[in-house]
């Protein structure tokens, strides 16, 4: 392929690609996202490949392994084009039947369709599945249409046309104006207005004219994986956004800082970089416009703090990833002391969309202060685990019940945790809260990068607070005292409470400590670290009090405060638990109810796990 040297050549290439496409040709699209891979989708894809070959249909049927489709709960997912028939939980043994029945004869295989557990109705197409129905998948939806390793797929859906528009028809200032007008706010957590950030970076003085662009793909929040899925599934959209940003701020060097735990994202991004360079969409004289910009990939080292912009930049320079005070913003003095514009993966992926469809269109979506859509990872105690893209302003109830399908096993909803380890837990009374940057912050939580962890009645809120504080204690870089020592103390107190050693004054001490850590910490990690504790005390004080006053864990989670017991009514005396127990703590005659010796029990849960009659109960 020769380098493209003008906007016209890009369009000619696109026309050529589209003319070779046969929209009516059968295509098997297998989701290759992380969730589906864990379910074994690679074997499914392999089975399709060999079955298509075996039947000599390689010319007639196209096979495409795409990025994440979002509905991880029902993987491996397969969509059959042109009809767009949607199959879920597909295994390699289904493959020959799918080819013979659906692809060749056009018959739908009933057992592979999604059944709505509420209505009992079967959904033949993706759009009929309630999980997808309420979503607005502007950024994420293309994942299902693209083989991320094939740039032609991205060009076929209009890829890089926004870049071409910017390079040839817009001044950098106009690009910044457009982004400002769209009111796009950073998707990484802070929610800072993107256009304003770009503007300060462009206007910042740089002695040698150097400026940098960074894509923050160090997605560290546990329970959040939308950035990973975007990079894996549609890396060119992120790159296109970065080149547009570079043009706007006047940078010629860019970095993508990718979390080490994301090998597939690294691989697909690397392939995309190579292709973009080959086609002249990166590198010198992009599309013949005279604008130069190239991107390097940098792998993170597994430190949560490196998601913080100054720590990330230190790490890019090969140093220990410690943050610095931000009296001077990184837009003015960032990487190597030069003006640096850092945005997160999802923010960059929004940019081409805004340019292509216009800020006016974009700013119609969402609420007053938060425009556009946001991708959330909906996980935890929820029926439909997956990635969902919804317009800002949608309520938590719609996300949890309409899209998420509610709480499994008929359990009661207790709380939803948003914003990652620095976010907060919101109770059932706030379930009709519209989700946007400001409303979440008002409620004591935050948007963060978009993790939403649903919790039911079996989740202990004190244990959850302790979980996040423990996480942050380990991830605190140790640079400043309030965060390092304050979080340690919080962890001690929370551990005491969960072990039944809490004192009455501990709860107010936690509140006081939380206030100090928030005020006095150096960076945003410490500044937001007390949120999980403060929000759970705010909304679930009664649970703290039960632990402290009654030495009781109402959710039955905290090991020191619970006992395993056998319900004599349900126990059949089958002896399975007694054989499983590593302590020999369970005794009883065959066919007679058994008992657990509390002195010997280590509460490992193997008995409960092995009992087929649900006779082991936690008291």
């Amino acid at each position: 392929m020769k380098r493209l040297t003008s906007a016209v050549e890009l369009e000619q290439l696109r026309v050529g690609i589209l003319s070779r496409r046969e929209p009516e040709k059968p295509c098997v699209s297998v989701c290759g996202g992380t969730g589906c891979r864990a379910y074994g989708c690679e074997d499914v894809a392999k089975a399709f490949k060999s079955e298509i070959k075996r039947q000599g249909l390689s010319k007639e049927i196209e096979l495409k392994v795409t990025g994440c489709h979002g509905f991880c709960e029902r993987g491996p997912l397969v969509v059959l084009y042109p009809q767009k028939i949607f199959y879920q939980r597909v295994s390699p043994s289904d493959v020959s039947e799918i080819i013979a029945e659906t692809v060749i004869k056009g018959n739908v295989i009933d057992r592979l369709l999604y059944v709505d557990p509420l209505s009992g109705e079967k959904a033949q197409f993706e759009k009929d599945v309630p999980f997808y129905k309420r979503q607005q998948r502007l950024v994420f939806g293309n994942n299902g249409l693209i083989d991320p390793t094939n740039m032609e797929d991205y060009l076929a859906i209009g890829g890089y046309s926004a870049l071409s528009e910017v390079l040839f028809n817009m001044q950098p200032e106009e690009v910044i104006e457009e982004i400002k007008k769209s009111d796009l706010r950073g998707r990484g957590g802070g929610g800072f207005p993107t256009g304003r950030k770009w503007e300060s970076c462009r206007n910042a003085s740089s002695s040698d004219g150097l400026r940098y662009i960074i894509c923050n793909a160090d997605e560290g929040d546990p329970g959040a994986y939308m950035d990973r899925s975007l990079l894996e599934g549609n890396p060119h959209s992120v790159l296109e956004g970065m080149v547009i940003g570079a043009y706007a701020v006047g940078a010629h060097d860019g970095y993508v800082y990718v979390r080490l735990e994301y090998p597939l994202a690294l691989k697909n991004l690397g392939i995309a970089l190579g292709q973009a360079r080959e086609y002249g969409l990166l590198g010198q004289n992009i599309l013949g416009s005279g604008f130069d910009f190239d991107v390097k990939i940098s792998r993170g080292g597994g430190a949560f703090i490196c998601g913080e912009s100054t720590a990330l930049m230190a790490s890019l320079e090969g140093k220990v990833g410690e943050p610095r005070p931000k009296h001077i913003h990184t837009a003015l003095q960032g990487l190597y002391g030069k003006p640096t514009n850092l945005n997160n993966v999802e923010t960059w992926a929004n940019v081409p969309l805004i340019i292509s469809r216009g800020a006016d269109w974009y700013s119609q979506i969402g609420t007053d202060g938060s425009k556009g859509t946001k991708i959330f990872s909906l996980v935890g105690k929820i029926n439909n685990t997956g990635l969902v893209e919804v317009p800002m302003g949608i309520t938590l109830r719609e996300i949890i019940y309409d899209i998420g399908g509610g709480i499994p096993h008929g359990k009661k909803f207790k709380a939803i945790q948003t914003g990652g380890p620095s976010g907060g837990c919101l109770p059932e009374s706030l379930i009709d809260l519209p989700v946007d940057f400001d409303r979440l912050a008002d409620a004591g939580s935050m948007m963060g990068s978009g993790g939403m962890i649903v919790m039911d009645e079996d989740t202990c809120m004190v244990d959850i607070a302790r979980y996040f504080v423990k996480f942050l204690t380990e991830e605190s870089c140790g640079n400043c005292v309030p965060c390092r020592e304050g979080l340690d103390r919080m962890l001690d107190i929370l551990t005491d409470i969960t072990q039944g050693k809490g004192k009455e004054e501990d709860i107010s001490l936690l509140e006081e400590l939380g206030g100090v850590i928030k005020e006095a910490s150096l960076c945003a990690l410490g500044g937001t670290a007390p949120n999980p504790v403060l929000s759970t005390i705010r909304y679930f004080r009664d649970e703290y009090e039960a632990h402290v006053r009654e030495r009781r864990c109402p959710a039955g989670v905290c090991k020191e405060l619970i006992t395993f017991n056998i319900d004599p009514e349900k126990c059949t005396g089958c002896r399975v638990c007694a054989r499983e127990c590593p302590q020999g703590a369970i005794s009883g005659e065959k066919k007679e109810p058994h008992v657990i010796d509390q002195e010997k029990c280590i509460k490992c849960g193997l008995c409960r796990d092995s009992c087929k009659f649900d006779a082991v109960i936690i008291l």
Partner: protein, 167 residues
Amino acid sequence: MMNYYEKVKAIVDRYGGNHDSVISILQDVQSEYHYLPEDALRAVASQLDIPLIQICGVATFFKAFSLKPRGEHTVSVCLGTACHVRGAPAVLDEVKRQLGIEPSETTEDMRFTLETVNCLGACALGPIVVVDDKYHGQMSPGKAKKVLNRYKKAPRDRRHEETDVSS
């Protein structure tokens, strides 16, 4: 020291001897030896002409690096929030009991290294235990015990040991 010199040199050269690439260089050294041997760190320091203390700072700061030799199998228990609320702590307790080690330790026979990770992005399958590259989803203490038993019974892979010996 000589053993490491050539291999480390090849890696350092790949990055043009660039000081900014310390993290990438150490990552590559680690994938070569499965951990960061002390003498390899010395070789990196001398070839980049950076004080050893600075290299050690980076090697101990980032979680991805291990200064101790690792076992034949790496068992990673996901402790992400979604896995946590679905009972990952009990799964971790059982794995610790089964292997007789704490996280970031290796069994004496060099067969298993236990690790915890903070989210693998496959939350639908939580709680998750990953052994080497294989995901085991919807774990419970009992299921984790069964998974580990399969690996314990499998014949030993001697290749890994040899790499350790040669290094």
